[in-house]
Structure formats: C-alpha cells, structure tokens
C-alpha cells in the first residue's frame, strides 16, 4: 500500500510537470524536418551561365538533357581525368543543344518582350560552356572543329573575354601542325586577327590608365602575338608586342615570370636586327 501510494505520488508529479511542459510548448517544430527536395540542383538560368556543380550533389543517375550531359562531362574531365568520357558527354550534349539541328538559338534583342525575357525560349539558348569545354579538348586533334565551336561562343556572347584568345591560340596550333607555308601564313594571319580582337574587348583608354596605371593589358595575348610576329619575321611588330607584354606585366608579373626577362632579351635582339635592316 505504502509502495503504491508512493508510486502514485510520483506519477502525479510527472503528470503535472507534463502539463506544465505542454503549456510551454509553443511550436510543432520537430528537429530534423526540413525541405526534402534537392536544393543543390540549381535552377539554371535560361542562358546556362552557371558553371560546374559538384557532381555528387546533383544526384543524377542518367543525364537527360544537354546541361546534365555537360555537367557529367565536367565531372569526367576534371574529377576523373577521363578525357574520352568527357568528350563523349560534351558531344552528346552538343547534339541536344545545336545550332545546326535547331535545338538551340542565339538570343538577341528580338527575343525580348518589352525589354524582358519571355517565360520560355523555344528552342532554348545555346550553351557556351559546352562549346568552350569541347573546343578546348579538340584544339590539338581537330583545330578546325575547335575554332568552329569557339566562333559559336562568340555568336552566343561576343563580349565574352578569352574566346578570341582561344581562337588565336588554336590557329597557332594549326600553323604549327602544317608544313604548307601558305597555309601556315594564313593560320598565323588568322591568329593575329583573333588575338587583336581579344585586345579590342579590353581597350586601354585614358580612363583605364587613370584608374589602373596599366599602359597595356592582356599580357598573354601580347606574348602570343610576339611569338607569331617572330615566326613571321616581322621584327618591328614582334619587338612592339614584347614591349606591350612588358607594359602589361609591369604591375601584374606573369605566371611564368622568367618570360619577362626573356622578353627584354628578345627586344634587344629584335632591335639589333632592325638596326641591321632586317
């Protein structure tokens, strides 16, 4: 009896405490309950300007559209070192996002409605990352195809930096591959044209000089131009390009800093040749 009453007392206490606790409980929140969708699957903007998403976060077992194949290709290329697999993924993606077969389009002002994007674009915009990635992989093995892809990127966004440089460098590769002097000359001329187009996108103006103190920019473009002019025997142009390279590296150095000393050496050699009428 004594034991039973003691137990009853404890139960009564517990009940009362529970009532009080229940009064204190003001939410129905349960720790651990959150959104169930995969928020790592981003809402791609209509132009696919997002970059690479960590593949493990996407939860894609089988890619189903151009963007997903492109992401799988990036994973293969960057994380697995599987260039063949990446190339295949990019090509599959390209077949699903192609100007040639009408599965993508270049967006212009004509697509806008009252200055805004319509809710849907049919076909969808062409993806530039896909073309840059595939083109870069094809630079050595198929420079013509690579250049074609890069030029499509310029159609997608003519203001995008670095694309003309890629085109110029691919023409340089092409020039290095050919034994036909005429073809080589043409490739170099094309490269010069592309590299100058790259420079034109980042003009050195009175305003940029006032803001940065840089008398030149795009050091690597100038380096490439100097190499081409030297190969073509255009010593004055080569010396000038090296000079511009030095100006562009004055406040920025280079990833290969020894090139700065080399450029100075080359300018001296080229100027000596010029003095001798070469």
């Amino acid at each position: 009896m004594r034991k039973r009453i003691a137990v009853l007392s404890v139960i009564l206490l517990i009940l009362v405490i529970t009532v009080v606790r229940a009064q204190n409980s003001t939410t129905t929140y349960t720790v651990g309950e959150f959104q169930t969708a995969n928020p790592n699957y981003p809402h791609p903007n209509p132009f696919y300007f997002e970059g690479k998403v960590d593949w493990n976060l996407l939860n894609i077992s089988q890619p189903s559209n151009a963007w997903e194949y492109m992401e799988e290709g990036m994973h293969a290329q960057d994380d697995l070192g599987d260039i063949a697999g990446a190339t295949q993924d990019y090509q599959t993606a390209l077949s699903m996002n192609s100007l040639q077969n009408g599965t993508c389009q270049i967006v212009t002002a004509a697509n806008l409605v009252n200055g805004a994007l319509p809710a849907t674009l049919t076909p969808p915009p062409c993806i530039f990352t896909l073309r840059l990635r595939l083109g870069s992989l094809l630079q050595e093995s198929n420079p013509t195809e690579a250049i074609s892809l890069f030029q499509e990127v310029l159609s997608i966004d003519p203001l995008r930096l670095g694309v003309n440089k890629l085109i110029g460098e691919t023409y340089m590769i092409e020039a290095g591959h050919t034994t036909d002097p005429t073809a080589q000359q043409q490739a170099y001329q094309n490269a010069i044209q592309a590299l100058q187009a790259e420079l034109a996108l980042s003009p050195v103006t009175a305003q940029t000089i006032a803001l940065t103190a840089d008398q030149a920019n795009n050091a690597h473009v100038w380096w490439d131009l100097a190499q081409i002019y030297q190969a073509l025997g255009q010593n004055a142009n080569a010396a000038n390009a090296y000079q511009q390279y030095l100006l562009a590296t004055q406040w920025h150095s280079d990833v290969y800093p020894w090139r700065i000393a080399l450029a100075q050496q080359n300018i001296k050699i080229l100027q000596a040749r010029l003095r001798h009428g070469q």
């Binding site: 004594r2 007392s9 404890v10 009564l12 206490l13 606790r21 009064q23 204190n24 409980s25 003001t26 939410t27 929140y29 720790v31 959150f34 959104q35 790592n40 981003p42 809402h43 791609p44 903007n45 132009f47 300007f49 997002e50 970059g51 998403v53 976060l57 960057d78 270049i106 967006v107 212009t108 002002a109 806008l112 805004a116 994007l117 530039f128 990352t129 840059l132 990635r133 992989l137 997608i156 966004d157 203001l159 930096l161 670095g162 034109a200 980042s202 103006t205 305003q207 940029t208 940065t212 103190a213 562009a248 590296t249 920025h252 290969y256 020894w258 000393a261 080399l262 050496q265 080359n266």
Partner: protein, 719 residues
Amino acid sequence: MSIVRRSLGIALWAAICILQLACATSQTPPVTGTATGNTTEGEFAAQPFERPEKCLPCHQRQYNELFAAVKSGYRNVSPLFNGLESAGNLINGGLLRPVYQDSTVVLPDGTLLNTNMLTSSPLTETRQVQAGFCFTCHNANVELLGDNPINREVPQLSGLQGNFDPATFRPLRDYMLVDANGNQVLPAVPGGEPPAGSLPSLGAAGITCDVCHDQAGPDLTRSFQEDGFANMSLLFNQSIEKVGPFLFPLGVKGNFHVASNDPNKIAFLKAGAFCNACHDVRVPNNNLMAEENNINPGGSSIKYFRLENLSSEWQLGLYNSTSNPFGKVIACQDCHMSDFPYAGTSNYAVGNMTITSPTPAIYATDYAAVPGVSTVDNAPLPLRQVVNHYFTGVDVPLLSLSELQARLGAGYPDPYASGTDAHGFPVGLANRRQDLLNAATRINLASTDSSAQIGQSFMVRLEAVALTGHRFPAGFSQERTAYVQLSVQDNNGFLIYQSGYVVDKPHPDDGVTAPNGNLDDEDLEHVHAIVDPGHYTTPYQTGTATNGGNNLVFQLGPDDGPDARVFEGASEGLVLFRNELIHIFLPGQPIGRTDANGHQIIAQTPHFEETFNAALANGVDNFRSLQPLQPRMYNYQVQLPTAQELTQLGVTLQGPLHVHAQVNFEHFPPVFMRYLAECTGPNGPAGQSLNLVDENLINTYLKNVKAISTADVTVNLVQ
C-alpha cells in the same frame, strides 16, 4: 502510514506549486508597447530585450566570451558591414532600412508598407523583405523594439527611392551610441566620430544573450521554404523565460529569469537548425534569371537568390549525418562553441587523403553560472559540459582597438591579445581564428608527375578538401577569399611557375600613385577589375547610372584560372575557392564601360560577368567554394622553358624541381573593399564621406592569412 501520508502530501504540495507557477505565468499579459507580431503568447512575465550586462553577474564567463565575438558588437560597427549596407541603400534609395508599424509608406499597388522583414509574417511583398534586410539578422531585438518610437534606435528614412536624400544618409552605426542616461546621441556629421562620452547602445551589442536565449523556435511561415532558413525566421519569447541547453536547470535567484524546461526549445537551441535563420541569406530580387520563389501563401511574387548558403550546405552535408569521420552529427555548436580545435586530434581517410585534424564536439566541464550568486538559496551548481560563447569564425575586426573601445565600450578586448582563458583557449580572437582556419582545409600534391623535361610540360595535381561543416569559405562566400598559392622552383630557387601570387602596385582609383610596400592589400592576378563607385547627384536617382556598381574595368589577368578552369576546362591558372555573384546583362543593356572610342558598350546578346555588388547580382555560382569531405583535383599544366630560352636567360636548371602549394585566406578582396571605400567616400553618391572604409584602413587591417594548409613535392628534372 505517516510516511505514506507525508509522501502524498509532498507530492500534492509540489504539484500545486507547479500548477500555480504555470497558471501565474500564463496569466501575465504581454509586454506593453513592444512589437507583438513576432512574439508567442505570453506565458511568463514579460521582459523586454535586455542589455547583456544584465546577465553578467551570474554568467561572467559567457558574457566575456560573447563580448569578444564578432557577432556581438564588432559586426554592428564593422566598416565593411556598414559600408556594404550603405552601398546597397545608395543604389536603391534606402530600401534596405527598416520600416515600422507607424510607417505611412504606400507601395505602388496601394499596400501600406508598415512591417519589416521581422514583423511581416508571412512575407508577401519584396519590399517587406528589403525593409531592414541586413539589420534584421544583425539587430533583430532592436528592430522589434523599434516598432515603439520610444525604443527606436535606427529611424525609418524620411524618403525612399526617388525621395531618398543621400546627403542626410547615415551608416547604421551612427545610431548605436547613447549618452550616460541612455539617450541616443549622434555623431556631429553623418559617419562622424562618436561624440565625447558616448556609450554603446543596445544595438551596438549586436547579437546579445537575449537574442538567442529568448528564442521560441523557428518561424516557419516567415522563411521562404517554410523550413526556418534565412530571414531571421525565429520566434522570440520576450519574457523572463530564457532557453538554455539543460533539461533540468536550477532555479534562478530572484526570479530574474526562468530557465526554460521546454524540451523543444532546448533541443532547438542546441541544434544546427537554430543557426539556419541567419546563416542562410536569401536576397530578394525581381530581376533574377534563375530565381526561387517564396512558397508561403500570398508570397509567390517574392523571388530570391542565395547569398549566404552556409546553413543549407551544412544541412545537406555529411556532418549533418552519421556518415562522417566522427560517426555522429556534428552541429554548428560542435565546432564554433566547443573546445574545437583544442581538444585533441582525429585521424581518418577522405578519398585518397589521410587526414589528421582537430576533433569536434568535445566540451569543457565547468559551471554554467557563477557559483554562490546565481541560484535560489545559493543551491550548489553542478559541474556540466558547457559551451563557450566565442563563436570563433573567419573574421577579426578591421578596426583599431581604440576605435573598437570608443564604439563598443572601454573594456572591449584586444583581438590580438595573447594568453589563454580558464579553459586554456587563446583569449585573442586573432589566435583562435588562425587555429580555426588551420583546421579548415587539407591539400596534397601526391599525384603530381614524378618527372619533368626541359622544354616540355608536366602536370602538377593538387588535391584539396574542406574539413568544415559547410563549404569553405562559407558565409559571404562570394567575397570571402580562399585560394591556392603555388610555385615551382628549381633546386637553385629559380622560379619557373607561380599562381596565386600578388604584385605591389599603384591604385590610382583610390589615390595610391605608387607601390606602398604592402602585398596584403593587393588583388590576385586572375582578373583586373575596378567597380564604378558612383557619384553624388541632385536630385537623387536610383540605379547604377549615378550610383555605380558596374565594372569600369574588367580584364583577364595573367593568372586567369577560376573562369578558365570552370568554363574552358583549362589546366592552368588560379585555384580560387570563392563563389561568384554574377550580373547577367540582357541584349540592349549597357554593361557600364566604354570602348576604345568612348562609346558605351551595349550587350548585343546576353552577357554576364562577376559583380562585386550583391544588389546588382541577378545570378550566383555557389559551387566554386570547396566542398567538405569531398576531395577535388586541380591540375596545373606547367611548361618548362626550352634549352634555347634557358641559354638566352643564362640559366641552368638544376633538379629536382620543388613544387610548393599553400591555401591562403583573406577577409575580402581588395577590389571589393576599394569599391566600398570609394562608394562611401567623399566622392561617392552620398556626397560626403561616411568614414567607413578608406585606403589607410585597407592598408593597415586587411591581412592575408597565409599557409592555412600546405603541401610540397619534388619532381625529377630530365635535362
């Protein structure tokens, strides 16, 4: 029988007492004159948000620790926080400042805007989200109190958008000063020095004891996905009920407060979910290209993008599971409020990497309050596992100690102090931050090519992983900067290749006409950017045309890595673990700079580039930061000079080659700080200096924290 009676009697007496206490507190009316929109029903005696000093007598250790935390105090007087908030307001005409319940602002659709981010539930208008957008997380308590004009610290601006007056605009911290009587005092001019004798206001204390210990759970209807993430979506008790971590707290002397015994509130305080309300930041923007929408009823017109995504990263990551090296959930508190990184080390494997790192989730044993003064009848306190309140993160104040003390109180601790506290932790924030950063990442170069040949290229393979509970860097991860500095030298020290380097240079845009000998205030060389700071005009107009924000200069640099790696798949250039805010320009829109002929460059097709102003971002890439516990490989194809080039240089390479890599961390990129300096400077849209950021501050306080993790490898040289 008497024992039985006595037992029953004691039980009944105890039950009656508890019921009386419960009923008494339930009958207490809510606080008069304070905002009620965010409060729960009054169950305990009302108590407005108190100054942290009120908690000091019984919680001395916690007070001291919190005082030194950047989220308490410093953040609210931070020149960066104030500068960023000011820059946003200068572009949009003051929309980021709070409105209150006496507001007469009418929105274009005729709706009265008299609630802010914290007092609108659910949020149905973008302008509600904008109203107090920054202030709400940094000063939620002060914003709630501000609905009563008597308690208001930060006033509602008299004019917004086209009626905004930049000449009278003040940074938030101007309002966080009081005199000895507690009355607000303002600097003589906007952004001016604190008046003599002024003291920090409640707002200056930032995240106070009450902000966390008054929590009453998540306000699910005020978070966009009904999940308690972002928008400071917390409910507050605003009563004497204080939520601590212990299920069976002792009674508090004098009934100054009641320690909550609500298991839900206690569990929430201890959960990572508690941090979600502020450590995800979702920015409303009606011009987004890839938006998410508020799913709450009536809120679908609110579109947003994810700025700070830290809580989501943790929520979805391995630390919020048992599938991590520690076999249990590791919550925010387990690293930022525990003995971490001072409680021993753990060894484990991540991918191919063998890791030794500090062990999280170990807590000191101590009293939760000061013994002998804090409990009813001075009941003895048990020793418990206790948290610290340092909340150490990646930040240290960018202010002098004298200015910190002028704005936050004479006792403000030196962030660079030496020595240890009673638990053996460094008392100086800078030391704790360094130790935390040292635990954040690991890198190795083990897969690098074993040999290299002159005139040929070889591959350096850098494997990197974050060990943090979120991505690294996190928080304002689009500006917080972590990167790899890598060099290849021959055995004589001849530098063959470098990445992640900086160069001392002039900054004529900020009045620096010659190199100043300091490398810590230099930007990385992947891109050269200068942001338009805007200029003062009258009448004021919103937008970028006069208030800046677009890139006046945007050029690729010689260490172009982030974009080349992401978009081209290049195996070269800077490895930058920094997310990116992007601005997509539609066809026909000017991109903010001119061509060689001085003509505005107009986008003919959609064009995007990095923006350094979140207010202008209409997209974001949050996948450039380093993922936790998922190693990632970064390749560098390094070209060796040819024999002819070496001859020309007069250099003979001597093997082996030495590859060194290290991860460095900096608060913010100098380009971003210089933008804020100019935008809030005398020539910016305010037309006067707000005295927040200047070149001297950048030069003095911006420090590059180097080598938070390192790796080395040697490569044989084939001649």
